[in-house]
Each structure stands twice: as structure tokens, then as C-alpha cells.
């Protein structure tokens, strides 16, 4: 049975993620209790704000090791995805390090930052997280930092440079965009995540 826990990082806007899950008929638990998080079947790590503040909160809550040791499917959203990497240039901070990637500032010349709005996914390989999500689907982004494309990338996006839109390593998944605010495509991604085992 699905027991979804949304990690309460004390800085994130949790409501919209919770409501998106509820629209799919799943009642998530919001928690920062290591025991509750460990016992979940699926874990979502949301995040807004800065990597430095979010990592500080995770340390204060004593959640760093708990999150690193999870073996069930974990989905990091936006900043939550960046926290799965080794390091972030946003505050030059060590992150959870469960995916061998790091976060850099987006480099733009004539384009506005943050990269804000709907952009398209470039999907190459078939992946269970991308079931029924066609190539070039529109999803909603808001960010100024991003993870370069690498072996962990399962979908990319383009904003002057290519960057990782969805990543995966073992049981850790990340979406740079906001599935909770990406209409039917976002709902499909959350649904696919909840069906992973």
C-alpha cells in the first residue's frame, strides 16, 4: 500500500505538493520525523528557497543521514532535486550526495532569470517515471540554478543551455520543474512515481 511522506523541510511550500497528491486520491503524511520517513513507501522532498537554507534546515532537523539511507523511491522537486546532488553553487553548499551531480547557476546572456514559465521536456530513453509523458511535453519551471546534463539525466530542457529536467540514480529521482503545477503532465509524473516500487 502506498504510504507517501512529504518531508517537511520547514522552508518549503508544502501545500501545493500535498494538494496535487490529494487530487490523485493519495493522502500524504507531512513529517520531519526520521522514523516516519523511513517507514514510508514513497518519499517526496520538496523545496523552495535556497540550497544553503534548505541544507541548514535538514541538518538542524537531523534528517541528512535519514534521507541518504532511504531505499524506497524518493522524488526531489525543484530545489529538492538539487539537494540530491553532491554540491550546489547556490550558497556553495554540500548537499545530500545521493546522485553524482552538482548544481550550477544558469548562464544566460539575453534571457531573463529566473527561468520562469512553461518549457518542454526532451525525453530520450523509455523510463517508468515517464510513462505516458510524450516527448516535448510542457512543464512549469521556476529556477535560476540547474544541474548540467549527465549520465543521471532522463529528461532535459533547454534555456540557452541544456540542463537536467528529470534525473535518476537508483531509488532517487528528481524533477527540476514543478509537477504539482504542471497540469496533466505533472499529475502523470506524480502518478508514475507513486507506482514505482
Amino acid at each position: 500500500m502506498t504510504q507517501l511522506v512529504i518531508v517537511d523541510t520547514a522552508c518549503a511550500n508544502l501545500s501545493s505538493v500535498r494538494f496535487a497528491c490529494e487530487r490523485l486520491g493519495v493522502e500524504p503524511v507531512l513529517s520531519n520525523d526520521p522514523a516516519v520517513i523511513k517507514a514510508a513507501s514513497h518519499v517526496i522532498l520538496p523545496g523552495v528557497g535556497t540550497a544553503k537554507a534548505a541544507m541548514r534546515n535538514l541538518h538542524q532537523l537531523g534528517l541528512v543521514e535519514t534521507l541518504q539511507q532511504l531505499t524506497q523511491p524518493v522524488l526531489g522537486i525543484c530545489l529538492g532535486m538539487q539537494l540530491l546532488g553532491r554540491w550546489s553553487a547556490e550558497g556553495e553548499v554540500e548537499c545530500l550526495g545521493v546522485i553524482d551531480m552538482q548544481t550550477e547557476r544558469l548562464q544566460v546572456t539575453d534571457l531573463p532569470l529566473p527561468h520562469m514559465g512553461w518549457n518542454t521536456l526532451n525525453i530520450s530513453p523509455e523510463h517508468p517515471l515517464l510513462r505516458d509523458i510524450p516527448d516535448s511535453s510542457w512543464v512549469y519551471f521556476v529556477h535560476s540554478y540547474a544541474v548540467p546534463v549527465g549520465t543521471y539525466t532522463i529528461a532535459s530542457c533547454q534555456y540557452q543551455q541544456p540542463f537536467s529536467a528529470i534525473v535518476q540514480h537508483q531509488n532517487f529521482y528528481g524533477a527540476q520543474f514543478h509537477p504539482e503545477r504542471s497540469s496533466q503532465i505533472g499529475a502523470q509524473l506524480i502518478q508514475n512515481f507513486l507506482e514505482l516500487s
Binding site: 501545493s16 494538494f19 496535487a20 534571457l111 531573463p112 532569470l113 514559465g117 521556476v142 533547454q158
Partner: protein, 257 residues
């Protein structure tokens, strides 16, 4: 490719959607949730809710509808209206709003912008600017308390200077409302928007004046704004969002369809 955004704006007063002409004579359009849901289904990229009475009345928006909207729709939305403290911003964001937009309180206390950005991140802090073209002086002037005609007043700021100030203070997006155009449906203020676009390294949203599909084509084509906000043409079903996007796409403007 990043899509240009179509953003219906719902002016909220006493829990209902209203619309006035040049910020005056507000008429009731309808309830909040059905309109919000309709726009999301029709392909709006984002919604903005302005509680137009809030700043002038020195009270924060009635909050209960924010959570109802957040539960209902699956596209991003911004809440504006009388948010003048970190605590008020925190409440609105916790209810599920994606962004908050600040206008008059930022003019009163520009440091508020820095504080909001530090606390919640640049990505959710929008600054609304009400800009009036003074034909006598030939200058664009920033106004405040525009939600209430009796309290609307000119500030000391010229629009370009205030824009530079909010960008320097870390704002994540600017909505520029051109007051002379508001509600009269004769087109966006292309000249002003194109000029401010050059000086705006963050997303810029055009507001005020949309009356026909060609106005949207024009504002994306000539002013290169990131989004176009409109109210009455959508509320009164003068323009259907699907048809608007189709024509924008035909004009070579990237839109989400």
C-alpha cells in the same frame, strides 16, 4: 523553448471577482473558484488574483479562498493584495500560492522586497508596478493604492527608476500595469513596455489594455515581454484562450498548447 505566458487576472473584492474601468466603477463578474477552474482548463498558463481593496484598506486578503484555489487548480498562481509583512507572505504561501505580488507596501518600505526574497526565495516574489503616463510632463509615474480611487496617489518614483530599484533588491518578476490603458481594451503600452524590457533582466509581464488577439501578438512581438496579463477580455469571453494561443503560434510566438 520557454513559452510566452497567457495570464488571466482575477481582481478580487469581498471574495468575488470584479472588474473596473481604469481602476474605477467595479462590477461583479462572479465567484472565484469556477472562473479559476475554467481558465486552467482552457489553457491559461498561470493566474493572478489581486485583492484590489486590500492595500487601500490596510488589511490582508481574505485567505480562505487561496487554499480552495490551490486545491482546485494545477497551474501556478500568484496572490496580490496588502501583503506587507513576512508573516502575511508566509501565510499566503503556506496556503498554496506559488508566488506573492507586492505593490504599495514595497513603495512604502522598499526593504520589504529584500526581506521577502531572503526569506522565501527570489522565485516567488513578484513586484507589481502601476505606471501612469503623464502627458503634460511626458514621464511615466508610479502610483500607489490604486485599488481605491479615493486613496490613489502619485509617488515620487519614475517608473524606470523604480523598476531598477526592485530588480536591484532581488525581485523575481515584475508585472507592469499601464494605468492609462487599463480596462479600455485598446492595446498594451508597447512603447513603454519595450523600453522597460531593455532594462529588466527578470521576467516582465505586461498588464493593461488587452482588447483583441492582435494586441497579444503585438506585445510579444514588439515588446518581448514574458507574459501578458488580461482580465475583461477573458471574463467577458471576448477572447477564447485556445484561439488566442492558436493565433499566437501561427504568428511564430512560442506558446503552450
Amino acid at each position: 523553448m520557454l513559452a510566452k505566458r497567457i495570464i488571466p487576472c482575477l481582481d478580487v473584492r469581498n471574495g468575488e471577482v470584479v472588474k473596473g474601468v481604469q481602476f474605477r466603477n467595479h462590477e461583479v463578474i462572479g465567484a472565484i473558484e469556477p472562473l479559476a477552474e475554467r481558465y486552467a482548463l482552457e489553457g491559461a498558463d498561470e493566474l493572478v488574483f489581486y485583492d484590489i481593496t486590500a492595500s487601500a484598506d490596510a488589511r490582508v486578503v481574505d485567505k480562505s479562498w487561496v487554499e480552495r484555489v490551490a486545491r482546485l487548480i494545477d497551474i501556478p498562481f500568484t496572490v496580490a493584495g496588502g501583503i506587507s509583512s513576512l508573516q502575511q507572505a508566509q501565510e499566503i504561501l503556506a496556503l498554496g500560492a506559488d508566488k506573492i505580488s507586492v505593490n504599495s507596501p514595497a513603495l512604502r518600505n522598499p526593504d520589504l522586497i529584500n526581506q521577502l526574497v531572503d526569506e522565501f526565495g527570489q522565485q516567488c516574489i513578484v513586484i507589481g508596478i502601476d505606471s501612469f503616463y503623464n502627458a503634460e510632463t511626458g514621464q511615466y509615474e508610479v502610483y500607489q493604492f490604486t485599488g481605491d480611487e479615493s486613496r490613489t496617489q502619485k509617488t515620487q518614483w519614475q517608473t524606470a527608476d523604480w523598476l531598477a530599484e526592485v530588480v536591484a533588491r532581488g525581485a523575481g518578476e515584475v508585472v507592469l500595469n499601464c494605468m492609462n490603458q487599463d480596462g479600455v481594451r485598446k492595446g498594451y503600452d508597447i512603447e513603454q513596455l519595450a523600453s522597460l524590457r531593455q532594462a529588466c533582466p527578470i521576467p516582465l509581464i505586461a498588464s493593461g489594455g488587452a482588447g483583441a488577439i492582435e494586441h497579444f501578438v503585438e506585445v510579444f512581438d514588439r515588446a518581448d515581454v514574458d507574459g501578458a496579463l488580461a482580465a475583461s477580455v477573458f471574463h467577458k469571453q471576448i477572447i477564447a484562450i485556445a484561439e488566442l494561443k492558436q493565433q499566437l503560434a501561427q504568428a511564430g510566438i512560442p506558446v503552450r498548447q
